[in-house]
């Protein structure tokens, strides 16, 4: 941003990739130190032990089923959340009564940790895949709806006027002005939703799931197996960052026309 190539500080002269490597090594070192300190060593077994636990979990035959089960729940809940959030957000932006009735409740529920209402969902929907998907759907819907709604109401009114004086019909305006103007917000919603879907995973899989990354972490907790737990936590982190990078790439490709904006 404010760098000049020749005279930059040390921080600017070292390439980003190298910084990433330094950051990685620093974390590895910290981890290793934690594994040596008696107080933390039980929670943080060293890297070798954690890597070995991959084999343990494969031998038990659960690693891939857990992964598959979680991904299915996350993707289903996430997709459903988006499909519901998009029209609701648009309706909220266009029709004030819809907004006034729905918005307070979205804000209200958004601040409740999903874990709190999981039992109610289990009572209503039983155990199995269904409650997991419902929990993730609710969480994704809330964040995506709010984000997309912000995007639709923030469409620059002059652009709509400009289209109108050029002869655009309501349909033209929706497809050719509002949709593209909202796209950056939709992509942001998609990214935030993905992150929420993952962070809701543990809550979602506390509904009596038989497999899943979140469910497994809880069950490993009961047997004090910290190595595979740490492994699973890292796997969730890797999935999260991969999805985020993918969506960011998509954002850059699709909305390169706009001035830089970060949320």
């Amino acid at each position: 941003m404010n760098t000049k190539n020749q005279k930059g500080s040390l921080a600017d002269r070292i390439p980003k990739r190298v910084w990433l490597l330094i950051s990685f090594l620093a974390a590895m070192l910290l981890w290793y130190i934690l594994s040596l300190i008696p107080a933390t060593s039980r929670a943080f077994p060293n890297q070798v032990v954690v890597l070995e636990s991959i084999k343990t979990m494969l031998d038990r035959g659960v690693l891939f089923t857990d992964l598959a089960s979680s991904l299915i729940s996350v993707l289903l809940g996430y997709a459903l959340g988006f499909v519901i959030a998009l029209p609701v957000a648009i309706l909220m932006a266009w029709y004030k009564p819809v907004r006034y009735i729905i918005e307070p409740w979205i804000q209200f529920i958004r601040n409740i940790p999903p874990l709190a209402y999981v039992p109610l969902i289990v009572i209503a929907a039983g155990v199995g895949r269904k409650p997991q998907v419902i929990v993730i759907t609710i969480a994704c819907f809330l964040i995506m709806c709010v984000t997309i709604y912000q995007g639709v109401i923030n469409v620059d009114e002059t652009l709509i006027k400009a289209a109108r004086v050029l002869g655009a019909t309501d349909k033209d305006i929706f497809i050719r002005v509002i949709a593209p103007a909202t796209l950056p917000f939709i992509l942001t919603a998609v990214r935030l939703g993905a992150s929420v879907a993952l962070t809701t995973l543990i809550a979602a899989e506390s509904t009596g799931a038989v497999a899943g990354l979140g469910m497994r972490i809880r069950s490993l907790n009961n047997s004090f197996e910290s190595a595979p737990m740490l492994l699973y936590i890292i796997i969730i982190g890797i999935i999260g960052i991969t999805i985020e990078k993918l969506i960011k790439y998509l954002e850059r490709r699709l909305t390169s026309w706009q001035d830089k904006r970060e949320i």
Binding site: V165, G167, V177, W257, Q258
Partner: protein
């Protein structure tokens, strides 16, 4: 003859009337009660005419333009364009906005094509015609750039090209050069003059810059402070082609002093 007493509706012109503004009043209902923005404004805009409207900020000149454009409805009175009462927007009335209003997700060329497509020109024909309009504003080289890559002056030239592409009968311009620096503004004035002299497109141009009004217009309409009314109409009898040097002539300065003092009076009214 500057400042001569005259009919304040501009009806004493023999050219065919394009837009007829009849006793338009606009009242806004705000939090602090009613605000009369315009009161009894009547004005004719004739074919091929270049009218500039000047007045202090808040005199309702933008409101008037928006009513003519059909983007706002008058509280009472009416606007008639080509014998039809204006009830909404129409492609025969093109608008150039101060904030450019370019679609940021479309390239320069596609912004112009938007206007063409709205009037039924499609595909290749639209692309080709868009280049013609870009040539008019000298932006052919930037056809595939996005608006964010352009300077303010270039953006406004794209907006003007887009407005022309819709082939309106009247061009309504709402302080189009207001956000530009002095040099760019002078350059765009010159370009607009050249285009107007070629096409003689009827132009209704709002500005708070008295010099800009005189250099461009055949007639300068002076509006009074709130509630907005027409205070005077001044003929600018300086022959075209005009250039920036026209601003140095005695006649120009005489008109400038005359109009400026009237606008200044209104400005003092606002400050009271």
């Amino acid at each position: 003859m500057a400042g001569q007493e005259r009919d304040l509706t501009n009806r004493d012109d023999s050219r065919p009337v394009r837009v007829h503004i009849d006793n338009v009043k606009k009242v806004y209902n705000g939090r602090n009660g009613e605000m009369v923005a315009l009161n009894g404004v009547s004005l004719d805009i004739h074919d091929n005419e270049f009218i500039c409207v000047v007045g202090p900020s808040g005199c309702g000149k933008s409101t008037l333009l928006n009513i003519i454009a059909g983007l706002l409805q008058p509280t009472s009175g009416k606007v008639v364009c080509d014998d039809k009462e204006v009830t909404g927007t129409g492609t025969e009335r093109g608008v150039v906005f101060q904030q450019y209003a370019l679609f940021p997700w479309l390239t320069v060329k596609k912004n112009v094509m938007f206007a063409l497509e709205m009037r039924g020109v499609k595909g290749k024909a639209a692309a080709e015609e868009a280049m013609k309009y870009l040539a008019m504003v000298d932006l052919v080289k930037f056809a595939d750039h996005f608006p964010k890559e352009l300077s303010g002056g270039m953006k406004q030239r794209v907006a003007i090209a887009r407005a022309y592409a819709a082939e309106p009968q009247v061009l309504l311009m709402d302080e189009p050069f207001g956000a530009l620096d002095a040099q760019t503004r002078a350059q765009l004035q010159t370009e607009l003059l050249e285009t107007w002299e070629k096409e003689k497109k009827t132009c209704f141009f709002i500005t708070h810059d008295v010099e800009e009004a005189i250099i461009l217009a055949q007639k300068v309409v002076i509006m009074s402070a709130r509630p907005g009314r027409i205070k005077d109409i001044v003929d600018v009898n300086i022959p075209y082609p005009r250039t920036q040097e026209t601003k140095l002539t005695p006649e120009f300065n005489e008109l400038k002093n005359h109009i400026w003092s009237q606008v200044y009076q209104e400005y003092l009214e606002v400050r009271k």
